[in-house]
C-alpha cells in the first residue's frame, strides 16, 4: 500500500521529478543535428569543421533547453557540466592517440636494425639510407653524464633539506629548487653556452650538453628524493640511533637504502624527461653526422637533435628518418616511464 501511495503522492506533489530519459535525449540530439543541417543548407555556413563546431553548440543548447523544460534549471546545468567533463576527457586523449598513433605508423617504415646501427656518415642530402647510431651514442653519453652530475648532487641536497635543514636557509633552498623546475630548457642551454662554451672556451661537446641537461634534472631529482626520504618511518632511524650508530651512518645505511626504490623511480622519471630535450642541445652539443664517441670534446649528435635536424630538411628521405628517430626516442622515453611505474608498484613505502 505504502509503495503505491508514495509513487502517486510523489508525482502529485512534485517530489519525484520527471525524468529526461535516454530515448528523449537521443531524439533531441537527432532533431538538433537535422536543424544544423538545414541551417547549413539555407545560410552561407559551410565546411566539415564548421558543421562539427556549430552542430556541437546546437546539440548542447538543445539538450540543455529541453532538460531545463522537463527537469528544471539545476538539473539542466548539471547535465551540461557532466557532458562538458566527459568531452574534456575525450578531447585531452585525442592528441595523445594522434601523436603516438601517427608516429608509430610513420616511424615503423624506416625503423629497422640497420637504422639503429648506422650513422649518417657519407649520406648525401637527398639520399635515403643512414641511421641514428651516432645520435643514440650521443644521447646515452649525454644523459649518462648528466645523471652522474645531477643524481649525487640532487641526493645530497634532498638529504640536507629533509635531515638537517632547519630555518630560513633550508626554506630558501627548497623554494628555489621549486622555482628551478620552471627554468625554460633553452635558458639552461644559453647558460651553459655562456659559461662553459664561451666563458671557459671549452667549445661544443657532449659534456656541455650533459651540463645543461643536469641543470634541468637537478630540481626533479631533489624533489622526488626529498619526498621518498620523508616517507622513511622515524622508528627505523631511532632503532639505528639506539644501536649507537651516528646520524650520518644512519642516513647512508638505513634511510637511503629504505628509500632507494622510490629514489630510483624519481631518477628514471627525471632521465626520461631530459632525454627528449632538444633546445639546450642545440646550443651546447652542436650536432654532427658521424660517430663521435668522446663526449669531452668535439661536437656530438643526439636523438632529439637528429629529429629536429631531419624535420627541417623537408626532403622525403629526411622526413622519414625523422619519424623513425622520433619513434626510437618515444620508445626509449616510454620504456623509462613504464620501468619507473613498475618500480613504484614494488615500492613498499609508496603504497600508502
Amino acid at each position: 500500500m505504502s509503495v503505491t501511495l508514495t509513487a502517486t503522492d510523489a508525482a502529485a506533489s512534485g517530489l519525484q521529478s520527471r525524468r529526461y530519459s535516454g530515448r528523449a535525449i537521443a531524439t533531441t540530439v537527432a532533431a538538433a543535428l537535422v536543424f544544423t543541417a538545414l541551417l547549413f543548407l539555407v545560410t552561407p555556413l559551410g565546411g566539415r569543421v564548421g558543421f562539427l563546431l556549430v552542430g556541437a553548440v546546437v546539440v548542447l543548447a538543445a539538450v540543455a533547453a529541453v532538460s531545463w523544460r522537463i527537469e528544471g534549471r539545476r538539473k539542466s546545468v548539471n547535465r551540461l557540466v557532466t557532458i562538458g567533463a566527459y568531452a574534456a576527457m575525450v578531447i585531452a586523449l585525442i592528441p595523445l592517440a594522434a601523436v603516438l598513433g601517427y608516429t608509430v605508423t610513420r616511424g615503423l617504415d624506416r625503423l629497422r636494425p640497420a637504422f639503429l646501427t648506422h650513422s649518417m656518415a657519407n649520406i648525401g642530402p637527398l639520399e635515403a639510407g643512414g641511421g641514428v647510431y651516432h645520435a643514440i651514442i650521443g644521447t646515452l653519453e649525454q644523459v649518462g653524464l648528466a645523471s652522474l652530475v645531477a643524481v649525487p648532487l640532487g641526493l645530497l641536497v634532498a638529504i640536507y633539506i629533509t635531515e638537517y635543514g632547519r630555518g630560513r636557509l633550508a626554506n630558501a633552498i627548497r623554494f628555489f629548487i621549486d622555482v628551478m623546475t620552471g627554468i625554460p630548457s633553452i635558458v639552461a642551454g644559453l647558460f651553459v653556452f655562456a659559461f662553459w662554451v664561451l666563458g671557459l672556451h671549452r667549445g661544443f661537446s657532449g659534456l656541455a650538453a650533459a651540463l645543461s641537461l643536469a641543470v634541468l634534472m637537478l630540481p626533479v631529482v631533489v624533489r622526488s628524493s626529498e619526498e621518498m626520504i620523508r616517507l622513511v618511518p622515524s622508528s627505523l632511524r631511532e632503532a639505528s640511533y639506539a644501536l649507537g650508530v651516528p646520524k650520518w651512518r644512519t642516513i647512508l645505511s638505513v634511510v637511503l637504502p629504505t628509500a632507494a626504490t622510490g629514489i630510483t623511480t624519481g631518477v628514471m622519471l627525471a632521465v626520461a624527461r631530459v632525454t627528449g630535450e632538444t633546445a639546450p642541445l642545440l646550443l651546447t652539443a652542436g650536432g654532427n653526422n658521424f660517430i663521435h664517441t668522446n663526449p669531452f670534446s668535439g661536437i656530438q649528435s643526439a636523438l632529439p637533435l637528429f629529429v629536429f635536424d631531419q624535420t627541417g630538411r623537408g626532403v622525403d628521405a629526411a622526413v622519414n628518418r625523422a619519424w623513425a628517430a622520433a619513434l626510437t626516442l618515444i620508445l626509449i622515453v616510454v620504456a623509462l616511464y613504464i620501468a619507473a611505474r613498475v618500480l613504484t608498484r614494488r615500492n613498499s613505502l609508496a603504497s600508502r
Binding site: 627554468i183 625554460p184 633553452i186 618511518p233 640511533y241 632538444t278 629529429v307
Partner: protein, 334 residues
C-alpha cells in the same frame, strides 16, 4: 574536522613526537656530512645565481652595441645593421602562451574534475596516467607531428574562424593567409595547449582530490546536484592550487622552444592576428643561433635573459600562491 585530518594524514607522528625525537650520538663524521650536504644546497642556489650572472654578463655588451632600442625594436638583425629588439618576440611569446592557456585551462579543469569526480576508481588512475603521458612526449616529436600532421588539418578550422569570426580582431585575416599556409600563432598555441594540459590537469587533480570527502557528502546530503557539489564544496578550497597550476603551465608555455619554432612561422610583426605567423623569444633563439655571429649570439643571450626574467617572475608567483595554499605534493609528471 581538523582532528580527523591529522589522524588520517600522519598516522606515524603523534603530537609532540618531534620534541622528544632521538638524535643519536654526535660524531665528527656528522659535522662533515652535514657540511657536505649544506654545500650541495648552497651550490644549487649558486647555480641559479650563476645562470642570471652569466646571461647578464653576455647580454649587457649586446644591448650596448644595439643601434635600435632593445625593448621597442621589432626587427632582429644584430650581425648586419646591428638593429635588433625583442618587441615582436616578446609580444609573440606572451600572446601565444596566453592563447594556449585559454585553450588548455578549461579542458584541463574538465579532465581534473572528470577524473576525480566522475570516472570510476579503476579507470580514473588509468586516465590520469594517460594524461600524464602527454607530458612524456618530447617537444621535438610534437613539433614533427605538428608540421607533418596537424598543420594541414588546421587549415579548415582557420578558414572557418577567419570567415565567420573575422570581425573579431583576434581572428582577422587581412592578408588572406589562413587558407593557404598554416604556420601561425594559432597553430603554436594549440601545440602549446597540448603540452601544458598535463601540468595544469595533474596539479588541479591533486588539489581537487585533497578536498575532504565529508564536505562532498554534506553537500550531496543537502540535495545538491553533482555540479553544485563540485562548484560549492570542491572548487573554492582548490582555487589557489589550481591558479598555481595554471601559472606553472604558463611558465612552461612561455619557455617552450622547439615545437613552437617549427610551427609559429618566424615573422617579426606585432599585431593581434593570431591566424598569421608570429614569433617567440625561445623559437627565435633556436632558429637564429646556428647562423649567428659573435654579436648575434650575445643578442640572443640578451633575449634569453628577458625570457628568463619573465618565466622567473611567473614561477615565483606560482610557487608563492601554491605555498600559501598549503603544501601540495607535486606529481612526477610535473
Amino acid at each position: 574536522m581538523s582532528s580527523r585530518a591529522t589522524v588520517t594524514d600522519a598516522p606515524g607522528s603523534a603530537p609532540g613526537r618531534k620534541a622528544v625525537a632521538l638524535v643519536g650520538p654526535r660524531r665528527r663524521g656528522d659535522g662533515i656530512f652535514r657540511g657536505i650536504t649544506l654545500g650541495a644546497g648552497i651550490l644549487v642556489l649558486g647555480i641559479l645565481v650563476a645562470i642570471a650572472g652569466f646571461l647578464i654578463a653576455r647580454a649587457l655588451p649586446a644591448i650596448a652595441a644595439d643601434k635600435g632600442n632593445f625593448f621597442t625594436t621589432k626587427t632582429w638583425d644584430p650581425d648586419g645593421s646591428k638593429v635588433f629588439g625583442i618587441a615582436a618576440l616578446a609580444f609573440g611569446t606572451v600572446i601565444s602562451s596566453l592563447l594556449a592557456l585559454v585553450i588548455a585551462v578549461p579542458i584541463a579543469l574538465g579532465v581534473a574534475v572528470f577524473i576525480v569526480e566522475y570516472a570510476p576508481r579503476r579507470v580514473a588512475s588509468l586516465l590520469g596516467y594517460a594524461v600524464d603521458m602527454l607530458a612524456a612526449v618530447p617537444s621535438v616529436v610534437y613539433g614533427l607531428w605538428a608540421v607533418y600532421f596537424l598543420l594541414k588539418r588546421l587549415i579548415p578550422l582557420q578558414v572557418f574562424l577567419a570567415d565567420h569570426f573575422g570581425w573579431i580582431p583576434l581572428f582577422a585575416d587581412p592578408d588572406n593567409r589562413a587558407g593557404q599556409y598554416s604556420q601561425s600563432v594559432f597553430a603554436a598555441a594549440i601545440i602549446l595547449a597540448v603540452m601544458i594540459l598535463p601540468i595544469v590537469a595533474a596539479i588541479s587533480r591533486e588539489v581537487i582530490a585533497q578536498v575532504d570527502p565529508a564536505q562532498r557528502e554534506g553537500m550531496l546530503a543537502l540535495g545538491a546536484t553533482h555540479w553544485e557539489m563540485v562548484r560549492m564544496a570542491v572548487l573554492p578550497p582548490s582555487r589557489p592550487g589550481i591558479v598555481g597550476g595554471i601559472m606553472l603551465g604558463l611558465g612552461r608555455a612561455l619557455g617552450e622552444t622547439i615545437a613552437v619554432a617549427l610551427v609559429i612561422g618566424a615573422s617579426f610583426t606585432v599585431n593581434a592576428h593570431v591566424l598569421s605567423p608570429g614569433n617567440s623569444i625561445a623559437a627565435n633563439i633556436a632558429v637564429k643561433f646556428g647562423e649567428a655571429g659573435a654579436l648575434g649570439r650575445n643578442a640572443l643571450i640578451a633575449s634569453g635573459l628577458v625570457l628568463f626574467a619573465i618565466t622567473l617572475a611567473v614561477n615565483l608567483a606560482a610557487r608563492a600562491i601554491i605555498y600559501r595554499a598549503g603544501a601540495v605534493e607535486r606529481s612526477a609528471a610535473v
